[in-house]
């Protein structure tokens, strides 16, 4: 049995870092507010959400057709198309392409899929030098941590953390935490790596079946440097990224950055159709349980995700506990519904790392029923006997008491007596989590029922 990730404990640790948590919550809520502001300027927004959802559902319910169409059209353009059943095969395909081309150093832009496949350590173990080019990803790479947010991977760090990290790794001034200074230092450090890289790798936000091309959205332009400078470009694309036609991109590109950051488009929206002049292009279509998830009536809608991050921006649990508390590639609400599909055992606590407020479902541009799926994953966890023992026992006891009116009323009486008579030092003990930050409710001395019997009973029907 795998060691289960304990998001509550990890979240508690982050909350203990007061300045980190306060800054994180403020910045990420700010992204939600920016999303609101930009959506307010698009009166047809709810119509677009419905279109985006339907286009994705159409594509997924015809996925075999669109995958074949994409492969056909991509191949016509001179793109090499590979298929990987799982993470291991993806990594091995990447390695064999790199090895065949004598690649020693690789520069890559952000790809959640490559993160999911643990590609970087795989390649590094085989002697390939891998550099993350996205600033946030590079910060995380240097920290030896996974990304904490899909769009801004290092948002949980303070500028002082980055200053200290760069001082150790890039030789910058540890006393200078000005983000302009630090970003410039990264620019100067990254440029020679781009120039000397033998290959560039990207992910893809969308793969267009009609044209055989794919789209990568960044704000830094790092994907473009990696794709346009080295002679070899490899893109990893999850099979769920397919969309039917070029014109469908209008819907998604209009929604992606507004949902993520509140700007109408990312600074760079790059479309790749076949190799650049003098270059070679490889695309790896990856399954890695996506086709299995497709077959799940409760959970296949999660495949509509366009990786905007709006759900994590709005999630009150994510903002307080931080993205690293999920212990997985995907964090936030989308992580809660994706990760247990990869490893139910390891991620069995994630569905409970949510107050079920439902805000995520409301901001999702493709109308994934995220909150409903979180609820359903809880049933899967409980149904597989994977609930934490205390909770399992507690729920059974509660269920039994609440099913029997006499037991329930007895329990109420006990609770009221305990509340009124237990001394404070006993009541607020380590086994009383409520009491850690909250006062217990006071015992009113009677219940509604007893009041009703006294004040209305004479009119009660038998």
């Amino acid at each position: 049995m795998t060691q289960a990730v304990n998001p509550e404990e990890l979240a508690e640790r982050f909350i203990g870092l007061e300045q980190h948590e306060a800054t994180h919550d403020r910045l990420v809520w700010g992204m939600r507010q920016n999303r609101d502001k930009s959506v307010a300027g698009v009166p047809e927004w709810e119509h677009l959400r419905e279109l985006a959802s339907q286009i994705k559902e159409h594509t997924l319910t015809h996925l075999d057709h669109y995958l074949e169409q994409f492969e056909q059209n991509a191949t016509k353009l001179g793109t090499h198309v590979h298929w990987a059943l799982d993470a291991e095969e993806h990594n091995s395909i990447v390695y064999s392409i790199l090895r065949d081309h004598g690649v020693k150093s690789l520069i890559k832009s952000k790809s959640m899929l490559q993160e999911e496949c643990a590609m970087t350590p795989y390649l590094q173990r085989r002697g390939i030098d891998v550099t993350e080019s996205d600033l946030g990803e590079r910060i995380q790479q240097l920290s030896k941590e996974p990304p904490s947010h899909i769009v801004v991977p290092a948002i949980h760090k303070l500028r002082s953390d980055v200053a200290e990290l760069f001082a150790r790794n890039l030789g910058t001034d540890p006393g200078n935490s000005d983000p302009h200074y630090l970003t410039e230092a990264m620019r100067q450090n990254a440029r020679p790596r781009f120039m000397s890289a033998d290959a560039g790798m990207t992910g893809a936000n969308f793969a267009v079946a009609e044209t055989g091309g794919f789209v990568v959205c960044t704000n830094e332009g790092n994907a473009d440097i990696g794709a346009c400078v080295p002679p070899l470009h490899i893109a990893s694309i999850g099979i769920e990224k397919l969309i039917p036609r070029a014109r469908d991109l209008g819907v998604f590109i209009r929604m992606l950055s507004r949902s993520a950051l509140g700007s109408p488009i990312t600074q760079y929206t790059s479309h790749f159709h076949g190799p650049r002049s003098g270059g070679e292009l490889h695309v790896i279509l990856v399954d890695n349980i996506r086709s299995d998830r497709l077959g799940s009536a409760d959970f296949w809608h999660a495949l509509k995700c366009i990786r905007c991050g709006a759900c994590m921006n709005t999630c009150p649990v994510y903002r307080r506990g931080g993205g690293l508390s999920y212990g997985a590639t995907y964090s936030g609400p989308i992580g809660v519904i994706l990760d247990p599909g990869f490893n139910l055992d390891k991620y069995r606590e994630l569905p409970f790392h949510s107050s079920l407020c439902g805000s995520c479902s409301e901001v999702c541009p493709v109308k994934i029923d995220i909150a409903d799926q979180i609820y359903k994953w809880r049933r899967v966890v409980a149904g597989n006997g994977m609930l934490r023992l205390t909770k399992q026992v507690g729920m059974s006891a509660l269920g039994a008491a609440l099913a029997h009116p006499t037991l329930y009323r007895g329990g109420e009486a006990v609770a009221q007596t305990a509340l009124s008579h237990t001394p404070r030092f006993l009541l607020y003990n380590p086994f009383n989590p409520w009491g850690k930050h909250r006062e217990m409710p006071t015992a009113p001395g009677h219940t509604f029922r007893t009041w009703y019997l006294k004040n209305r009973r004479t009119n009660e029907l038998t």
Binding site: G41, G221, I265
Partner: protein, 226 residues
């Protein structure tokens, strides 16, 4: 069965039913958005949003949005004015790599075969065939860039734009750009940017430090391309 066959077989076996038809991309009734300038009111009050549905406002909407994305623009009259503006904005530029007849530059991109040769470019000059008002973005392909890396390796980028090629939304843009005709196509909205360190927006993260759009229709050269 190889992986391709296995994946397709697994997909076919798992296709959710009933199948969902492809929706028509209809435009809902109401105003089209070409400029989304946001709002300042509280949640309970209706937002005050500025829309610019008129075609005559496409250029001004594009200009406003370009600025919001961190870019800047100038209107210039002719090729000589373009050259003057470039010198005025970047007096210390040593390497000016141009793809346009209006600006000879110190290096012609048509002569470059290897993108690595563009590492030292201070200013790149290209012309965009189409801009999108709602996004403040210009469209550039391998045809305009010649060497794709010019768009991201130049320290500063200047983009010439005919004012009559501005369309309202990305829907309009995708109808017109003939996606797939070029191996590379880019919507560039402002300079390179990042907010990865405490959400502070920095321009010039990896790509161009600045994006300047010079609004001028294509001009006959005047000075002769070397």
């Amino acid at each position: 069965m190889n992986s391709r066959e296995r994946i397709l077989a697994s997909v076919r076996k798992n296709l959710p039913r009933p199948a969902v038809p492809l929706p028509a991309l209809s435009e809902p009734n109401g105003k089209r958005v070409v400029s989304a300038l946001g709002y300042k009111e509280h949640f309970t009050n209706l937002p005050e949003v500025q829309h610019s549905p008129e075609d005559t406002e496409l250029l001004s909407s594009f200009q406003k949005q370009l600025e919001a994305m961190g870019g800047r623009w100038f209107t210039v009259a002719d090729a000589a004015s373009v050259r003057a503006k470039v010198s005025e904005l970047f007096p210390d530029a040593r390497v000016v790599c141009s793809a346009v007849p209006e600006v000879p530059g110190t290096r012609r991109v048509e002569r470059i075969s290897d993108p690595h040769e563009l590492d030292d470019v201070d200013v790149g000059v290209v012309r965009s065939p189409l801009a999108v008002a709602e996004a403040g973005a210009v469209w550039l392909t391998q045809s305009e860039l010649v060497v794709n890396a010019l768009g991201v390796l130049a320290q500063h980028l200047i983009v010439l734009l005919d004012p009559s090629v501005v369309v309202a939304t990305l829907h309009d843009a995708y109808e017109q750009i003939g996606l797939g005709a070029s191996p590379y196509g880019l919507f560039m909205a402002g300079p390179s940017a990042t907010g990865d360190i405490e959400g502070v927006i920095i321009h010039g993260a990896q790509g161009a430090r600045s994006l300047t759009v010079l609004i001028v229709p294509p001009q006959a050269n005047g000075e002769g391309v070397a």
